[in-house]
């Protein structure tokens, strides 16, 4: 009985904070657009009893999902989001791995400070930090002023409102999520493994690729998922830093909800997004579980 109560806590949590909202969104996605408040029909009317429930379920259909397939905007937006997320994740890995490696090899007394520096940006609002990138990347921004001042370029670079700015924003924002899991695996690694590799004939470089890199694989996978999953649905960064040609599903979702006020289609977009995300989330969970088993 006590065990049941203990298990019930996380399940109730899951039910209240994930399942119930999801069912509401799912229900809206199966409804029709209507000029009313709320802006969709049908709504469940229990006063008419069984007849009301029957007509409620009878009015639900997959019309909105069919609509998503008729307009190529949607699947292009999904595809483009996945593409941007993949590229951004790889960029974050390329930037994050050396930082994590440097931290793990730094002298012991430096590590807490370095860790602090990685986490520090979280102390300011995410929105403000993205805004400040607008100040850095705009044509009159600090970056262009600096580069022109140094005489490296004569015309300002157009970075803001391009996909490049979106990538910079994503890499900047999600970098700690990449660094921390990689750092955790590297820091735990036994230093004598590298000495053993060298002793057996490896150069430093070979030792890195044959020992350090494969042993940090779990950290890399964890970091990549932690960056990839939120990036797909990212809205703020493409909205603020991206241009008109930056197509991301988060932005489409926002426009459907707030500009078109078409809640049912927006909900259908959200449901599909969730289905797309479930695959990497399951893969991520399996990786975590395998890691726990291996450490047994």
């Amino acid at each position: 009985m006590r065990r049941l109560a203990l298990i019930a806590v996380p399940y109730l949590w899951l039910l209240a904070l994930f399942l119930v909202p999801f069912i509401i969104v799912l229900k809206i996605s199966l409804s029709d657009y209507a000029l009313s408040i709320p802006p969709y029909s049908p709504t469940l009317d229990l006063s008419t009893g069984w007849q009301g429930i029957k007509s409620f379920f009878g009015a639900l259909d997959f019309e909105n999902f069919t609509f998503l397939t008729t307009d190529d905007l949607y699947w292009k937006a999904y595809l483009s989001s996945v593409k941007i997320a993949v590229v951004a994740t790889l960029c974050t890995l390329l930037v994050g791995y050396p930082i994590a490696y440097g931290m793990a090899n730094a002298p012991d007394h430096w590590r807490p400070t370095l860790m602090m520096l990685v986490i520090l940006p979280f102390w300011t609002s995410f929105l403000i930090r993205v805004y400040s990138w607008m100040g850095i990347l705009s044509t009159e921004g600090y970056l262009n002023q600096l580069l022109i001042g140094m005489g490296l370029i004569s015309e300002p670079l157009m970075i803001l409102n391009t996909n490049t700015a979106v990538y910079i924003g994503i890499v900047y924002t999600y970098l700690p999520f990449m660094i921390l899991p990689i750092y955790a695996t590297l820091e735990r690694m036994d230093a004598s493994l590298l000495e053993a590799a060298e002793d057996l004939g490896c150069s430093r470089m070979q030792a890195f690729w044959l020992v350090t890199f494969p042993l940090s694989r779990n950290g890399i996978i964890a970091g990549c998922f932690l960056v990839f999953i939120p990036t797909i649905g990212e809205f703020v960064i493409p909205a603020l830093l991206g241009g008109s040609d930056t197509l991301m599903i988060g932005k489409v979702l926002w426009e459907e909800f707030f500009n078109n006020r078409d809640w049912p289609v927006a909900s259908a977009v959200a449901v599909i997004l969730l289905l797309i995300l479930i695959i990497p989330i399951i893969l991520f969970q399996r990786n975590e579980q395998k890691q726990r088993e291996a450490e047994g």
Partner: protein, 374 residues
């Protein structure tokens, strides 16, 4: 049939495999190795023995190439190894933590060094199979290190370090992580493997029993210096200093003044006690301080004064350490010193001849004790 004794260190023509020439290693202000010169010969099983912090691990890491001497040179097979990086040395090391690659199978761990040498595939396969057979690991080739026991891991580490057929194998506390029973079995296995492969082994250990069992020569270290390097028997029977005598095995040290007498010296160690005689070849001036080291098993214990021995003292049993087959008696002399005497437990415990507080005589022969400069 005459058996040739393996004692290259006594042969002036023998060419040493390793030579330390005036090697000093400092870490900042700390001197880890203090101006050491010594040789290790081919096929030797050489043990570096000492308490933690004595420099034995530093010595080994210099041989492996992970540390460079501050002064002096180390020669391997007639070649100064200072400029050779660890990955190019014909030296392999078995790490204390074993340092097995957790993401590779037992087979791949053993093949790791061979692959770096770019050997052809079947040559690698043959060599790995040979190593698996030598260490009796054939059944575990496909397992990962976390799927085998501690003893098996130890053997994988040994197989991996032997796979490249190094001129010299370094073993850093190789049996430290094993339990007592397994450790004993493994000691003999190590000796067998050393003999079969003919590789020169240098082992670092703080366990004197282990060093005495496996090694052809033991170097007892203290404070960055080798105090004595000799066969286990000589280290035990003929220690050259109080430190070595005290470090190896159980011993009673009696300090006193020496006076020349006969083939040795008479030692006066306490007021009111008879002087003790020990035969010795060391040169001491009359009246100088000396220390007498007596092993407990060479001291006999009796109720009456023995007639045949010149060294006899009376005392009271203070403590008895029961070791099963033996008992060690701590006998307190009237002057306060404690002398240890060991006797085999030939009778059952309940019929033991001596017990606490008994007045007894302890005695030893003229040659039993070792006289050392204090």
């Amino acid at each position: 049939m005459s058996q040739t004794v393996f004692e290259p260190w006594n042969d002036p023509d023998a060419k040493p495999l390793i030579q330390f020439k005036g090697v000093t290693k400092r870490f900042g202000d700390f001197t880890a190795i203090d101006d050491q010169t010594f040789d290790i010969y081919e096929r030797e099983f050489f043990a570096l023995l000492g308490p933690s912090g004595c420099g034995k691990t530093t010595m080994m890491r210099m041989l492996a190439g992970f540390e460079a001497p501050t002064e002096g040179t180390i020669w391997l097979d007639g070649q100064d190894i200072a400029p050779i990086p660890p990955n190019k040395r014909a030296v392999n090391m078995m790490f204390q933590s074993y340092a097995l690659f957790p993401h590779l199978s037992v087979w791949d761990n053993i093949a790791f060094g061979l692959k770096r040498d770019g050997l052809p595939r079947d040559a690698i396969g043959d060599r790995v199979a040979e190593m698996l057979k030598l260490t009796r690991l054939e059944k575990f080739a496909k397992r990962k290190p976390h799927q085998i026991s501690g003893g098996q891991r130890q053997r994988v580490a040994l197989a991996r370090s032997l796979a490249k057929a190094p001129k010299l194998l370094l073993l850093d506390e190789p049996l430290g992580a094993l339990d007592a029973k397994l450790r004993q079995d493994t000691q003999f296995e190590l000796m067998d493997i050393q003999e079969t492969t003919g590789t020169t082994f240098v082992i670092v250990t703080h366990d004197q029993e282990e060093a005495m069992t496996v090694a052809s020569r033991v170097a007892v270290m203290d404070d960055g210096r080798i105090m004595q390097a000799d066969t286990p028997a000589n280290i035990y029977e003929m220690p050259n200093s109080v430190y070595v005598a005290d470090f190896i095995g159980d011993v009673t040290i009696l300090e006193g003044t020496a006076t020349r007498s006969g083939n040795g010296y008479d030692i006066t160690f306490a007021e009111g006690q008879p002087s003790l005689h020990a035969e010795s070849e060391i040169a001491l001036t009359d009246g100088s301080r000396a220390a007498l080291a007596i092993r407990p098993e060479k001291v006999s214990i009796s109720a009456e004064r023995p007639e045949d021995k010149r060294n006899a003292l009376q005392g009271k049993i203070l403590d008895i350490a029961y070791l099963g087959n033996l008992s060690t008696y701590h006998v307190e002399l009237p002057s306060g010193q404690i002398v240890k005497a060991q006797a085999a437990n030939t009778r059952r415990l309940s019929r033991r001849s001596f017990t606490w507080e008994d007045e007894v005589w302890i005695s030893w022969t003229d040659t039993a004790a070792v006289l050392l400069e204090a």
